[in-house]
Symmetry: C2
């Protein structure tokens, strides 16, 4: 795999001088077109062997291009805000919006590689982690990003030469650390694992380009031209014809056995019982958040449900038990301009809470497979892939000790009608009912199928859906509170 | 000052029961109107004596209102990202946008109060800090925020009673810390300093409301009604008639002695000399950033100048000396939707760099007193107050060991014409020239006066303007680099 990158590629000064002006002009023009059309974002990864010139290459890229529309990020000195979130949060927060270029040096590949070489993780876990990276990058590409990955390679001899050279010069001596020599001693292992890694993560959408790092002119020209070529090609590509890939149709409902229909919608709770249980579970919830183990957890609560199913009321009963400094309630409406320039899940990633905090979403990332699907706001292939992306998203939170609790509040069509009419007649509740609500109601049956589909595809062991029979508000609120307590208790019990 | 808040105010259960439903309905309606009209943001400060019920009050406010449009912030457990920026950054980053309510518990008043009581700062410094707070709040109000400040008071006896009570109950014992008792012992001092603080920061735009904290019903009702009253009044107020306050006209130019005219625009540098100097100062700059003392600094560079004056070229020469991971270049164009919902300076605050990083602004916060003033994008009173706000902004950065370097790149009208024509004729430079540029050129004289005004009003000792004769690009770039090096050197020498 690295053979071609050890041939001693060199570029003469004459070629360099001849090619550079055209390359720079091309890059600037491509960047301008990108910036104005805002067609896609560009994510450039510069990874590879120590001392192969990653830093210099990135510096040159910045010099060649318009530095106002390119931004470089290094994974180092993580802040505590980053350490309290899932590992990928630090990348999500700096993803370039459409029209811009983000360069990453020290990437999501560094940790798995280092950890495997140093024996912290086995090959099986390495493969798992790489699999997740593949899915992450696929998502980026599906969301329209151009992902370009470069691996700078040096042969063992060349790396040694480079280290010695740096060490000899008093001006660069500081750059050579014990870790560098330690890595050099493990060169063969690094090479083996890198090869495995590159092979398995070189996908059709975002293949690796391996570049010999020895000669700077060769390295710069190769990477520069590859970047220009990719951006230009994508800019100049004609709009793909509108084409809905044939997706297997939803299974026709042969019988009436929808998961939603299995709910016993007649469940109720007497007021006196409600009040007793409310006090009990709110007290319990409050106590749980003051458990010392809670400092290592965070909680994300997702509320979905029929219009007027009582999401707001349930949220109220939760926050009554919490300290206001500890939670945020995030209403999910139309995305802002900054959010629209990013992958779909970005606006949820940006709201992931810190340790010992709650984020309560009133409507969620499931909008994509609910309203966006039904209303045709996105294409079929987009909501089809969303199921997997959402599962990945939730898995990352759970792996970071976030308790993910998802509620579907279900009411019957008759109960909804009653509540709509109630709302219209009570002054300060009128704002809660809009034309949209009435329109959605007409699509009741369609939504029903779509919801069942969603539950089937995204109720996982680590982040299960809780279906809540919500015709009776008392019953629903208690079920929500009780479930929440149980899930947090479970997480506290399992804390490592 | 606290006399009225020690009278033993009480509200009977009957009054409470009668008043509460109306209050809650009113709050919900006001919040809805606010949310839909997006007319202004509401900033509520809940401060006061320990154990006076700040937390409970905030929790109740959250319960009464729609929790999706209100967010509570506490100043505690500062993150390292916050610690590396000016103290006010932590508030700026969570300011509520228009249409939303932000509640702050533990506010910008806590630190000065505590530090004065414990003897860390003298009264003179306390006054200075309070003066800054007044200016900050005035700016918020001028930018359209509604700032409501509540001080919960307890008499000395009452505070003692409260502490004892909390300590007796095993469920609340954890809430009473040694610090609380320590504070109690200093009650008289606290009272004296608080009084001084409240008196001097109770302004016409944002007065303090002192509330007796003893009886919870009284406390909740008083604060709830005050909030409702203020929001409602502001919502229902008729649009103020368009009225340009008479502002003293700019001093008529009696002679030709504009500061810009004192520049010797014939300055040049030979290419050979330029190349020598460029290497010298880039090397120096690079070395400075690797000085151990630099880890305590950050650098903000502001570029303004005539169109085509060479800002981009100067920025390029700076970043050539830096590591790409160390800087961000921030192009200032039209604000985004999220930025427009915030005070004017918000979009610059959000880009303040961490320690040992550079933020390079291509066009800056001075847009308000330049293009916005000339084009009439904001009213006269808005750009008039901007001078002071900008000075405050820069002062805060400097106090946080940020080196603020501001360049005005000046070219003559003839040179500009030449460059415009050049740009139009060279393919890949064409994008650099727009109709706007030609239009701005027609206002050359007006801009000249406005620029001189800006320099006079904002060139301070801690953040001076450097005027750069930029007819000769070589000369200009070296002056920029040299100045930057000098300013960083100075800061390194003065480091504490």
């Amino acid at each position: 795999m690295f053979e071609s990158a050890e041939l001693g590629h060199k570029v003469g000064k004459d070629v360099w001088k001849k090619d550079i002006p055209l390359l720079r002009e091309g890059l600037l023009e491509a960047q301008l077109d990108l910036c104005q059309s805002k067609k896609f974002s560009v994510i450039i990864l510069i990874a590879g062997v120590d001392c192969a010139g990653k830093g210099e290459t990135v510096n040159l890229l910045n010099e060649w291009m318009d530095p106002r529309h390119i931004e470089t990020h290094a994974v180092r000195d993580l802040t505590d805000e980053e350490l309290e979130r899932p590992p990928m949060w630090r990348y999500w927060r700096v993803l370039p919006p459409r029209g811009k270029i983000g360069v990453f040096i020290g990437t999501w590949y560094s940790a798995p590689l280092l950890e495997n070489v140093s024996g912290v993780i086995e090959n099986a876990e390495l493969d798992q982690r790489l699999e997740r990276i593949i899915r992450f990058e696929k998502m980026l590409c599906d969301e329209g990003a151009l992902v370009l990955k470069f691996w700078l390679h040096l042969s063992k001899d060349e790396q040694k030469k480079r280290l010695k050279l740096l060490e000899k010069d008093p001006n660069t001596r500081w750059r050579v650390t014990d870790t560098d020599w330690e890595h050099y001693r493990r060169y063969d292992k690094f090479r083996k694992v890198s090869e495995r890694m590159l092979r398995s993560t070189s996908t059709a959408e975002s293949p690796w380009t391996i570049v010999e790092g020895t000669d700077p002119f060769y390295r710069y020209l190769t990477i520069g031209q590859a970047i220009l070529g990719s951006i230009r090609a994508r800019l100049d590509a004609p709009e793909p014809p509108k084409h809905e890939e044939p997706i297997p149709p939803m299974l026709p409902a042969i019988d009436d056995l929808l998961i939603l229909n299995t709910l016993d919608m007649s469940r109720t709770l007497k007021k006196s019982e409600y009040e007793r249980e409310l006090e009990k579970y709110q007290g319990k919830l409050n106590l749980l958040t003051r458990n010392p183990g809670f400092r290592k957890l965070s909680v994300v609560i997702a509320f979905e449900g029929n219009d007027a199913a009582g999401k707001g009321g349930s949220i109220r009963r939760i926050i009554q038990a919490l300290d206001a400094r500890q939670y945020r309630v995030i209403p999910v409406a139309a995305p802002t301009e900054e959010e629209r320039a990013q992958p779909y899940l970005w606006r949820f990633w940006r709201n992931i809470p810190r340790k010992s905090r709650f984020a309560i979403f009133d409507r969620t990332w499931y909008g994509r497979v609910l309203v966006e699907r039904v209303e045709g706001y996105c294409e079929r292939k987009d909501w089809m892939r969303a199921y997997g992306e959402i599962n990945d998203f939730e898995e990352q939170m759970v792996r970071n000790k976030t308790v993910v609790v998802k509620f579907w509040l279900s009411i019957t069509k008759e109960e909804q009608l009653k509540r709509f009419k109630d709302r219209e007649s009570v002054g300060f509740k009128r704002y809660k009912i809009t034309d949209d609500d009435w329109r959605n109601r007409e699509k009741w049956n369609e939504y029903e199928g779509v919801v069942c589909d969603m539950i089937d595809r995204t109720s996982t062991e680590i982040a299960p859906w809780t279906l809540v029979e919500a015709n009776d508000k008392y019953y629903a609120r208690i079920k929500v509170l009780k479930t929440l307590c149980e899930r947090i208790e479970l997480a506290l019990g399992n804390k490592s």
